[in-house]
Symmetry: C2
Amino acid sequence: MNNFTYHNPTELIFGRGTLEHLATKLERYGKNILLVYGGGSIKRTGLYDKIIHILRAEGCQVTELPGVEPNPRLSTVRKGIELCRTNQISLVLAVGGGSVIDAAKGIAVGAVYDGDVWDFYLRKAVPNTALPLGTVLTLAATGSEMNRSSVVTNWETQQKHGASTTFPAFSILDPEHTFSVPKDQTIYGICDILSHVFEQYFTHTTEIPLQSRIAESIMKTVIENAELVLANPEDYDARANLLYAGTMALNGTLPVGVVTDWATHAIEHAVSAIYDIPHGGGLAIIFPNWMKYVYKENVGRFVRFATEVWDVNPADKTEEEVALEGISRLEEFFIRIGAPRRLADYQIGDEHLDSMAVKGTPYGPIGNFKVLEKEDVREILRMSL
Amino acid sequence: MNNFTYHNPTELIFGRGTLEHLATKLERYGKNILLVYGGGSIKRTGLYDKIIHILRAEGCQVTELPGVEPNPRLSTVRKGIELCRTNQISLVLAVGGGSVIDAAKGIAVGAVYDGDVWDFYLRKAVPNTALPLGTVLTLAATGSEMNRSSVVTNWETQQKHGASTTFPAFSILDPEHTFSVPKDQTIYGICDILSHVFEQYFTHTTEIPLQSRIAESIMKTVIENAELVLANPEDYDARANLLYAGTMALNGTLPVGVVTDWATHAIEHAVSAIYDIPHGGGLAIIFPNWMKYVYKENVGRFVRFATEVWDVNPADKTEEEVALEGISRLEEFFIRIGAPRRLADYQIGDEHLDSMAVKGTPYGPIGNFKVLEKEDVREILRMSL
């Protein structure tokens, strides 16, 4: 195990009807609220009305920033920062999934920064203060509700980058708020959660028995609840298990003492910076190909993945066969739940392979399980066509 | 899964040489330090000198409270509170195991409270503020380094009670600081960690797949590292895995959405309030007997414990047989590592059974897996003689 520091001050408020805690939370953070949300699904489900009702009852001034995009745009973040400054916002309240929360994080750190918020994403500056941020999560996927990461896309430069920004002060997670998530978004969320675990599970770090087991616990929980949720979108317990697993997958528990990878996320960011495809869909396509490209670096880790997560029977098989069977089981799972299989499913051909390979390695080689040069990224993308 | 709130702001600083982070932390919390420690082992190991060196280099004023007892005493906590007030202490720094940290927590909340600190332990008052607290942990056991619980003994009234007090702002965990822990203390620590998991694992709450798996992950990690540590006290990785497992067992991860039990801890507190035996030793004696007394309430949970944690083969056995075999395996494990088996090992006879049964149920019946009346507690203690 390597040395580590773990610190996560987000308060997680989880369960049926927990939106009622919002009023109490508001007392602590002033009355000028920037309400950040997406394409309007929260209006269709009635969640918007409930939140406005609570905010009004608490005497809040509400400024709205609707229309945050699925891959949130820098222009939207800048608009939010402007709104914060004009309206002396005291709390940024994000209602939605990962994109909305990521945008809200950029807004919260940008609003109290003298320079341009994009500096943080270009790693030219590190935020050291932020407006308070609260979230009401509506999608099991991102983990953004309990970490300080934010991913934003600059469409002018076709760059999609992540930055360490700010932790939500509180996040309200009611599984019922995810009942109405459409099937495709539910599938992308499942792929996203599993991908987060993969990035932190495939490592050469040894002597991490507890971290490995917790990662396997999350994967098994996601796999066994995925089909339940897809069969019955209003299965409370399955939605709750998926929602909680999504948070645990990316709240800092898994990487403690572990060298993590994150190459596949960088590759997916390069793809969706050009094509604007769903993040979870891109990950479902690229991850099995990344696995096939890198597994020989540490076959034993992939054997463990196969036997512990997918119950592959290792009898009479070589280690390599077991490892590859684990990857096949993952592919079969993705097919079974209806995830995309190839970039062609999004009408992506080989036109921009080189450009994506360049964008996927913006600061040089990526990943740790196998360090990937631009040419490696190109090959993984080619395998994914 | 039940509704829950999770919030744990403690910063965990883990690994070899991490004591050097102490200087940075001190900058944030002022220069008047109350240094709280136990029987002097930190002087023998040289840890005391290292810490004093850091504190002096940072220009701190150091007030010392040495001699905190293994079951920390209310009188010691009161002494610490007095020292805080006299010396305008800005940071309480606990160096030691759970007892030292528990005492320091009582001091940190008592120092800024108008009334008597024992009020918190009698549940007459709830602390809402505290002096900042930092810890340097020297023992894998307590979990106190990353939670807000504190257990203190009032020797005048022979009462041992827990209270929710304050989270450490930071905790420094260097596995090398546990190399010199004597064998018996190492054993008690192992029993303590497993007992913490048991209290949160044996439940009737359903649909908690991730919580159950994480609990099993901790138990398996403790079991496989226990004998490694006992065979080679300076096995860094085994000490690190045990230390991290101890923190995870009691940092609020396991009970989310779960009805927990904690009856066995209440029973052990009643025993050690009278006999001053090691907490971990008492738990090792009482837990298997609690299990035998209660397993019929939910045989399935004990079957899962047997098969998942102890790899009991359920073929050709009744559920009851599998459940009992799991409990037997635990007893065999405790014997193998040299834990005490019976209260008689501490020269405890049946003289005070009634008195302990009364003390074990100070506010009425205890536990949730099976609600235990005074008579039930008496019977479990009788089985443990």
